[in-house]
């Protein structure tokens, strides 16, 4: 006998957990798939945003108690037919099949990287990536770190690196103070967020936070030794061991695209109930537009309630959710990339690390009016193991090429996944027992 989940949720970050808690109130069968070993998503799993500790503990507790089943360590890779999705489980080496009635996609966001000369040198890392390494035991004590790029994540990462014993030399934010002021005003209106900002500020005492400043090159012999920075007028170098770099976040759209959800302005289009263009498929959190954890929690709750049929309950949250979205828009505008950071590459700068594609070869194609399909066909840019997850957003920023199509599997899987018959999770007695 095969069972259907009433509500199946992909992603156990703030949005997915809030959705699970809300949907479970309706005594439905709810499960949450996540490719990590534990719930929490990008911030809570990484131990970032600790200043929001009470909210985190509250949600983790509610999630644990709500009766929804957490199916961790499962990465959703394909959707062979409506109402069915398949996830790869690394631990058992099995492709599992899940049937659902309603689906909530809460797949979060990832960091955007922009290429510049030297960015592939050992020692240059993603800001969030370095943070995760440190959480995993990587020792930064006494290391000189420059944090550069754009977005609120830079401050959070710097604060944590400092806390863990790194010597944070500088935080370089490419956005100008003038651009960020309206956003700062928004922040001031939000008690929870202002608290977080103040706390971060306290942690960051003694670290220089430079706005209107960005990296132009990472320099070193076989590994990073200096970073060259500019404020648009002069250039200088900072000696450092690590450069933690990130240019804000981009939504994870692969799964929504796979399910055929309409995407507008680089985000999944949803109505006030978080319903996508596909019947029965909802989307919550960062894929609908980068707006932060408070927005993710609210959208998750709305999606969970709506998917459980409680539209009345969901409607009560819509006004607050709209306000959070406005906050997200202000943030996006504050951290918009300046033209200068899109002109950092020289011809030899690698853009696609998987396939070793240089800026020069892509620029030549762009100049001849080729599109992303031409570029992919001719250079294989974005066709390596990461399937354009890293270079896709960069290429879009640099050349305006959009990757609007995805193919299953949306993540690489062992060939074995295709050979063995997918296993229905209903054989998975454990999940059923957990439900009782």
């Amino acid at each position: 006998m095969s069972m259907r989940w009433d509500v199946l949720i992909v992603g156990a970050g703030p949005a997915g957990m809030a959705a699970a808690v809300a949907a479970s109130r309706g005594r439905l069968r709810v499960a949450v798939l996540d490719d990590n070993a534990a719930a929490g998503g990008q911030i809570w799993r990484r131990g970032l945003g600790e200043t929001a500790e009470p909210a985190k503990q509250k949600m983790l507790h509610a999630f644990k108690e709500c009766g929804a089943v957490l199916l961790a360590g499962r990465r959703v890779v394909q959707a062979p037919e409506p109402g069915v999705l398949e996830a790869w489980c690394d631990e058992t080496n099995v492709l599992e099949r899940y049937h659902y009635d309603r689906l909530i996609l809460a797949t979060g966001a990832r960091e955007r990287f922009l290429p510049f000369p030297g960015w592939t040198l050992p020692g240059v890392m993603g800001a969030g990536g370095l943070q995760a390494l440190v959480r995993g035991g990587y020792d930064v004590r006494g290391k000189r770190v420059v944090v550069a790029g754009t977005g609120p994540l830079l401050m959070a990462v710097a604060a944590h690196l400092k806390h863990d014993g790194a010597k944070v030399v500088a935080i370089c934010e490419q956005a100008s103070m003038a651009r960020m002021l309206p956003f700062a005003a928004q922040l001031a209106k939000k008690p929870s967020k202002i608290l977080q900002a103040v706390a971060l500020g306290a942690n960051l005492r003694g670290v220089s936070y430079k706005t209107g400043c960005w990296p132009v090159a990472a320099i070193g012999n076989g590994r990073l030794q200096h970073v060259e920075l500019t404020d648009g007028r002069r250039r200088w170098t900072e000696q450092c061991d690590l450069l933690a770099c990130g240019f804000h976040l981009v939504p994870n759209l692969e799964l929504p695209l796979l399910f055929g959800c309409r995407v507008e302005n680089d985000a999944v289009a949803v109505n006030a109930m978080q319903q996508t263009s596909v019947a029965g498929v909802y989307c919550a959190g960062e894929p609908t537009g980068i707006a932060g954890v408070d927005a993710a929690l609210l959208q998750g709750e709305i999606a969970g309630l709506a998917a459980a049929g409680n539209t009345g309950g969901a409607e009560k949250l819509v006004a607050r959710s709209k306000a959070e979205r406005a906050f997200g828009e202000a943030m996006t505008s504050a951290f918009r990339l300046r033209d200068e950071v899109l002109r950092l590459c020289d011809a030899n700068t690698i853009v696609c690390r998987c396939e070793d594609v240089s800026y020069g070869s892509l620029k030549a194609l762009a100049d001849e009016k080729n599109n992303w399909t031409d570029a992919k066909l001719l250079t294989r840019c974005g066709m390596g193991p990461c399937q354009g997850r890293v270079c896709g957003p960069a290429v879009e920023a640099l050349f305006g090429w959009k990757n609007a199509s995805v193919r299953p599997p949306v993540f690489p899987v062992p060939i074995a996944a295709f050979i063995t018959e997918p296993q229905s999770e209903f054989d998975n007695q454990q999940a059923l027992q957990e439900m009782q």
Binding site: P80, T373, L377, R407, P414, I415, A416, F418, E421
Partner: protein
């Protein structure tokens, strides 16, 4: 605009024809509604292989391979030409008999081969399962990256003066005139239709889309060294009706493996068919047991343009201004340079290097008439 020749379709075949004509000093126009090399030429495997399924195919593919080898020095690095050779794998003694027969066929047209016994096979390809009978190595065969090759032909043609008309869709071609979707027209002394699996300009011919699945892995340099094909491949490729799979694995210059092959007559829906994909990969793992551990990074499908007699349509049609170069099934990459030569021979009145009569489009007309009668 007036052209000597208009080539419709900028896949590898149309692009090779454009280069051939531009080299001969003709004023060439190439019309491509989409991205050049977006069709089968983007989806295919790029195995440059001599095939012995019929004497005509053997002659054309041997010719094609020879032309590829001749231009090797001129090909840019992006084409990734690698003369890795083909290894036809024989599972048992019966297939070993076929190995001997195949060697004789190849020898008759001067294609070098080498018979491997079980031990030599194991030595040549240690990842193959133990207990196979042997194989036939064809050292002159190779592998390329087809979209880059197609684009190289096109760029060379443009450098020699050809004009690419991109993003415009021809809807009719007759009597030296090509009508475009926007109502405008182009004219030329000759028109070459190289639209692959698309027969909208020549509805009287039968070309069926024959779907194939491919899987590309992450990089595992040295996992296999030759393009490995099971000897039963021809049997499978020749089945006219049923869906079939065969073991066919290609080492890419990048260290990646490209895994084929499946054949399905189907509607032209590009979706992955999980059942046949499973059969195909099952087959691959019977020969290469450890392949199941490798990471697959992408799965896709493509359509071969299959004619009823498995031979391409190359040459003139009853409308003396219209020539065809299409219907290459699973060999259009190998055969593109040879087909382009034959087209050039027709247009320039040159003596062809091989017998071109088996490829005459007239046979398709006869088949169509026979069917109507």
């Amino acid at each position: 605009m007036q052209f000597d020749v208009l080539i419709l379709g900028a896949g590898i075949v149309g692009s090779a024809c454009a280069l051939e004509c531009a080299r001969a000093g003709m004023k060439v126009g190439i019309v491509e509604p989409n991205v050049p090399a977006n069709g089968a030429s983007a989806a295919g495997m790029g195995h440059i292989v001599v095939m012995d399924d019929s004497p005509a195919q053997l002659a054309l593919s041997r010719y094609g391979r020879e032309l590829w080898q001749q231009m090797r020095q001129a090909l840019p690095a992006t084409v990734e030409y690698e003369q890795c050779g083909t290894l036809w794998v024989a599972a048992d003694e019966e297939e070993m008999q076929e190995v001997h027969a195949k060697q004789r066929t190849y020898a008759s047209v001067g294609v070098e081969t080498e018979i491997l016994d079980a031990q030599a096979l194991e030595h040549a390809e240690p990842q193959l399962r133990k207990g196979l009978a042997g194989g036939l190595r064809v050292p002159g065969d190779g592998v390329i990256y087809p979209p880059a090759a197609a684009r190289f032909f096109l760029d060379e043609a443009i450098r020699l003066g050809a004009t690419l008309l991109r993003g415009v869709l021809p809807v009719a071609a007759a009597q030296g005139r090509v009508k475009l979707q926007d109502g405008s027209g182009l004219s030329a002394g000759a028109i070459v239709i190289a639209t692959g699996v698309n027969t909208s300009l020549v509805p009287w011919i039968t070309v069926q889309p024959r779907k194939g699945h491919l899987v590309i892995t992450d990089r595992y340099p040295g996992f296999v060294r030759h393009q490995l094909v099971e000897l039963g491949y021809l049997k499978s490729a020749h089945k006219l009706t049923a869906d079939s799979v065969a073991f066919n694995v290609q080492p890419r210059q990048t260290g990646q493996l490209l895994i084929g092959s499946s054949r399905q007559y189907s509607d032209a829906v590009p979706d992955v068919d999980a059942a046949i994909l499973r059969r195909m990969l099952d087959r691959a793992s019977e020969y290469l047991p450890r392949i199941s551990e490798l990471s697959a990074i992408r799965v896709w499908t493509g359509f071969r343009a299959a004619t009823p007699d498995k031979l391409p349509l190359i040459g003139p049609t009853p409308d003396r201004s219209v020539f065809l170069a299409m219907g290459f099934e699973g060999l259009g990459i190998t055969n593109a340079p040879g087909a382009a030569r034959l087209v050039g021979d027709y247009l320039l009145g040159r003596e062809p290097a091989i017998d071109r009569t088996p490829f005459l489009p007239g046979r398709a007309l006869k088949q169509a008439e026979a069917m109507r009668a």
